[in-house]
Amino acid sequence: MPRTRRSKKIKNTSSGNSFHDRDALLGLFKQMYLIRQFEITCGEQYSQGNIRGFLHLYIGQEATGVGVLSQLSKDDYVITHYRDHGHALARGLDVNRSMAELFGKSTGLSKGKGGSMHLFDVSKKFMGGHAIVAGQLPVAAGLSLAQKYKNEEGITVCFFGDGATNQGVYHETLNLAAVWQLPILFVLENNGYGMGSSIERVRAGGTDFYPGVSTYGIDTAEVDGMDVLAVREATRAAIDKIRSNSSPYFIECKTFRFVGHSYADGQKYRDNDEIKSWRNKDPVETFPKYLINQNMSTDQEISDIKSKIDKQIDQAVKFAENSPNPPMSELYKDIYRD
C-alpha cells in the first residue's frame, strides 16, 4: 500500500531567490510572450479562414505551461490535450512548423494532417496534443512505465484540464501510476471551466482537486498558475521528488483562460467581471513589471524582446502562408509503417 502523503501548499514565491538568474527569468518572459502573440495571431488567422476546424487558445494560461516546461530535460516526455499550442511552444517546438500545421501545410509538424489539436514533435519527446478528453492520461502512464522499465533518466509530464478529471480513465491512471510507482508528473491546469461547465456544476467535493488525489497515495501541490515563478518552483520540487523516489506527483495549477473555450464560444456561461479579475493577474503583463521592479530588466529591454518576438510570429505566418499544401499522396501515407 502506498503511503498517503500530505499536500503541500506552495506560496507565491515571486520574491524568492532560488535559480533566479537574469537570463532564466527573461527566458520565462520570452516564452510567455511568444505564446501570447502566437495565440492572438492564431485567432486572427482563424477569422480570416487560414486556420480552421477547432481552435482552442491558451491565452491566460501561459505561466502554467512555461513554468512547468522550463524545468524539464530533453529526456522527459511531454503529453497533453487539444489546448496544446502553449505546451508545444514552451517545449521548444519550431514556431514556423507549429503555425504551418495550423494552416494545414506540408511543412507543418504533422504535415498538415493533425491540425491545432494534434501537435506532435517526437524529436522533442512531445508526444502529442490529444483531442479526446482525458485520452492522453493512460498513454502518459505508459510513457513513464517505459521509462521506468528501461531504467531511463527521464520522467513523463502529462497536462490536462479540470474537465478531464470527470473521466474514468483519469482516476484509473492515478491509481495505476501509484500502484506501479511510475515517474510521472500530472499537471492539472484548473482553469475553472470545462467548456461551458464551471467546476461547481459538474464536480462534487469543491473546486480543489489535489486533496482527492492524495487518497491515491500520490504527493500533491497546489500552486498559483498565474505566477510563473511559483509554478517553476513547484515543478522543480516535484521533479526532484519524482526522480529520487521514482513515484508519481501531482500539481494543481489554478489558472484561467481569458478567451472562449474555442474560437466559436460566446461565453454566455460566465460574466465579464470574472474574466476581468483574472486579467489583473495576467502573467504576460505582471511578470515583466516584476522584473523591472527588481531591477532585472528595463522597459526598453522588454519592448525590444516584444518586437523581436512579434517579428518572429510575422515570419511564422509568412512561412505558413508560403508553404505548399501537402500533396494528395499524403492522404494515404503514415497510416501504417511500411
Binding site: 494545414g104 491540425g115 482525458a134 474537465g163 467548456m195 461551458g196 461547465s197 501537402p326 494515404y332
Partner: protein, 325 residues
C-alpha cells in the same frame, strides 16, 4: 409548410416530448448553460429547468450507463453526445449494456433511451472528431440506428425514437444542422425501419443516407442531363434496414449505385450490397457499384479532407465504369 433548420427540427421534437411526457428528460455535456455544442438544445434549460435538462460531467461512459438505468426504471432519457466519436468512451455501456439487457433478461427489461450525436467529416476536425460510427452502431442487435437527411425526417425520426421502447441511436450529420427544409403543420412520424424513395426513376437506383443524400441527388441531376433517369433512395434507418424498399427499387431499375459518406470499407453500404446480392442478384444488369470515402484517418488539411470525402464525380465515374455508359 414552414421552413425549419435541421437543428431546430430536432429541438422541436425534443420540446414536444418534454411537453407531453414527464418521464422524458435530456442529458449531455454542455447542453444547458452553454446551449449545446451544435446549439440543438439552446434555450431548453430556461424553458424546462435543470431537472429535465441535465448538464453532465465529461463522463460519457457513466452518463450513458445512467441513462440505461433510468430507462430500465421507467424514465425515457434522451442523451446528447457532442460527437459520435465520443460514443467510443461509452461504447461498453451502449453495446454490452443497452443493446443486450433486454435479451439477456429474457424480455423482462426494456431500455427506452435515445442517444443522439453529430456524425461525419467535412469541417476539418481531423481524425478523432470526424468519424461516422453509425457504421459500427448499426450492426448491434437490440439497438436501433437511424440517420436523417432532412429536417422533415429529423423531426419524424426523433418523434419515433423517443416513443420507441428500445434504445435508438440517432446519428445527425453535422454538416446538415444549418440546412433548411419544410415540415408540415400536421403531426406526423417517420417510422424507424422505413427507407424513403425520394425520387422515383427507371434506369438506376442510387442509395445513400444522411449527408450522402445531397451527393446522390446531385449525381441524379447530372445523370438526368445525360438521359439517365435515376431513382433516389434514402435509407434513413440503418438498423433495421428496409430490405423491401431496397429490393423493390433494385428489381425495378436493375442497376445499383451505393454511396457512403463514411469510409467505404465496413460502411453501411457493404451490408446493403450483401442484402442485394442475397435478394435480387437475378435482377441486376451489372455489378453493384459501391462508392464511399477513402479508407484513411480523416486529415485536417482542407484539400486532403475534400479528396478523401466521396463526391459526385467519383459516384458518376464509378457508375459509368460499372455499367459501361
Amino acid at each position: 409548410m414552414p421552413d425549419i433548420l435541421f437543428r431546430d427540427a430536432i429541438k422541436l421534437g425534443l420540446q414536444e416530448a418534454l411537453d407531453n411526457d414527464p418521464s422524458v428528460f435530456i442529458m449531455g455535456e454542455d447542453i444547458g448553460a452553454y446551449g449545446g455544442a451544435y446549439a440543438v438544445t439552446d434555450g431548453l434549460l430556461d424553458q424546462y429547468g435543470p431537472e429535465r435538462i441535465k448538464d453532465t460531467p465529461i463522463s460519457e461512459a457513466t452518463f450513458i450507463g445512467a441513462g440505461i438505468g433510468a430507462a430500465i426504471a421507467g424514465l425515457r432519457p434522451v442523451i446528447e453526445l457532442m460527437s459520435i466519436s465520443f460514443s467510443l468512451v461509452g461504447f461498453d455501456q451502449i453495446v454490452n449494456m443497452a443493446a443486450n439487457i433486454r435479451y439477456m433478461s429474457g424480455g423482462q427489461v426494456n431500455v427506452p433511451m435515445v442517444l443522439r450525436a453529430p456524425t461525419g467529416a467535412g469541417v476539418q476536425l481531423a481524425a478523432t472528431h470526424s468519424q461516422s460510427f453509425e457504421t459500427w452502431l448499426c450492426e448491434v442487435p437490440g439497438l436501433k440506428c437511424v440517420c436523417p437527411s432532412t429536417p422533415y425526417d429529423a423531426l419524424g425520426l426523433i418523434r419515433s425514437a423517443i416513443k420507441d421502447d428500445n434504445p435508438v441511436f440517432v446519428a445527425e450529420p453535422a454538416m446538415l444542422y444549418s440546412k433548411k427544409g419544410e415540415i408540415p403543420n400536421e403531426y406526423y412520424e417517420v417510422p424507424i425501419g422505413k427507407a424513403n424513395v425520394i425520387k422515383s426513376g427507371s434506369d438506376v437506383s442510387l442509395f445513400s443516407y444522411g449527408h450522402g443524400i445531397k451527393i446522390i441527388s446531385e449525381t441524379a441531376n447530372y445523370l438526368e442531363k445525360n438521359g439517365i433517369n435515376a431513382e433516389l433512395v434514402d435509407l434513413r434507418s440503418l438498423n433495421p434496414i428496409d430490405t423491401i424498399t431496397i429490393s423493390n427499387s433494385v428489381r425495378k431499375t436493375n442497376r445499383v449505385v451505393l454511396v457512403d459518406t463514411a469510409r467505404k470499407t465496413g460502411g453501411v453500404m457493404s451490408e446493403v450490397a450483401s442484402l442485394i446480392t442475397e435478394n435480387s442478384v437475378d435482377w441486376l444488369d451489372g455489378p453493384i457499384v459501391t462508392v464511399g470515402s477513402d479508407n484513411v484517418p480523416w486529415p485536417y488539411n482542407h484539400d486532403l479532407e475534400k479528396k478523401a470525402f466521396v463526391d459526385v464525380q467519383s459516384v458518376v465515374k464509378a457508375f459509368e465504369k460499372g455499367y459501361g455508359v
